[in-house]
């Protein structure tokens, strides 16, 4: 199956430090990437792992589901999703702020979170903005609010980046 994978600049894994080749199969058991498996995202998982580069990845079956990720025995990078760039990251940040602004209109107790988000957003990465927005929703509307905000982030990314749902 095909899925998606965020990496640091130059295709480097954020936790393994492994520089992924393009098109070459990487197996979990060979110890290059991560011994626990090759990690990837379904579209719904993307907001939790926002990094510099987004790639489409082909995964070797069987594929297990983690909390917010897919885990496979092997995988290979297929193509970079070029639409995920600095401009998309900035637009994603704006979309997160706008949703929290809407929350603050419905629920005035979210105003403080909106102010915090506005102060922090220019100085942090999109992943941090995504987390702040989700935690603002959680603070006001509980876990359902958190999940709804994360789902809205995933929908925004899939729409903006033109991603097809994974099988």
């Amino acid at each position: 199956m095909n899925a998606f994978k965020f990496l640091l600049t130059d295709r480097v894994g954020p936790f393994s430090g492994f520089r992924w080749p393009v098109g070459e199969w990487v197996e979990a058991h060979d110890g290059r990437a991560c011994g626990a498996g090759v990690h990837a995202c379904a579209p719904a998982d993307l907001p939790f792992w926002l990094l510099d580069e987004l790639w489409e990845v082909e995964l070797r079956e069987p594929v297990a589901r983690g909390r917010h990720k897919l885990v496979a025995r092997g995988g290979r990078l297929v193509r970079r999703i070029e639409a995920w760039d600095g401009e998309a990251g900035e637009d994603f940040t704006v979309a997160c702020i706008e949703r929290v602004r809407g929350l603050a209109v419905r629920r005035p107790e979210a105003a403080g979170h909106l102010a915090d988000l506005g102060n922090w957003a220019p100085h942090v990465r999109p992943a941090a903005v995504a987390s702040l927005a989700a935690r603002a929703a959680e603070a006001v509307e509980g876990r359902d609010g958190y999940d709804a905000e994360r789902a809205a982030q995933a929908d925004w990314l899939a729409g903006r980046l033109g991603l097809e749902p994974t099988a």
Partner: protein, 84 residues
Amino acid sequence: MSEAAELTCAELVELVTEYLEGALTGEELERFEEHLVYCGPCAVHVEQMRETIRTAGALREEDLDPALADELLAAFRGWRHGAA
């Protein structure tokens, strides 16, 4: 561990040693690494801990300058007395 959706920075700090020893698994590991993606200061903290362990692990007793060893021992003795 809190019931909140995301790990807090304080919770992450408590788990750093286990993470660096490869002792975290499953959901705990995933929540830890999720936090590192969005929290720059915690990512820096983990890297500093990793580097400290790497550096300290490469030191042997005979690598230490005797004068520095005496100074450290004196400081530790003072620390213990001060804490008592």
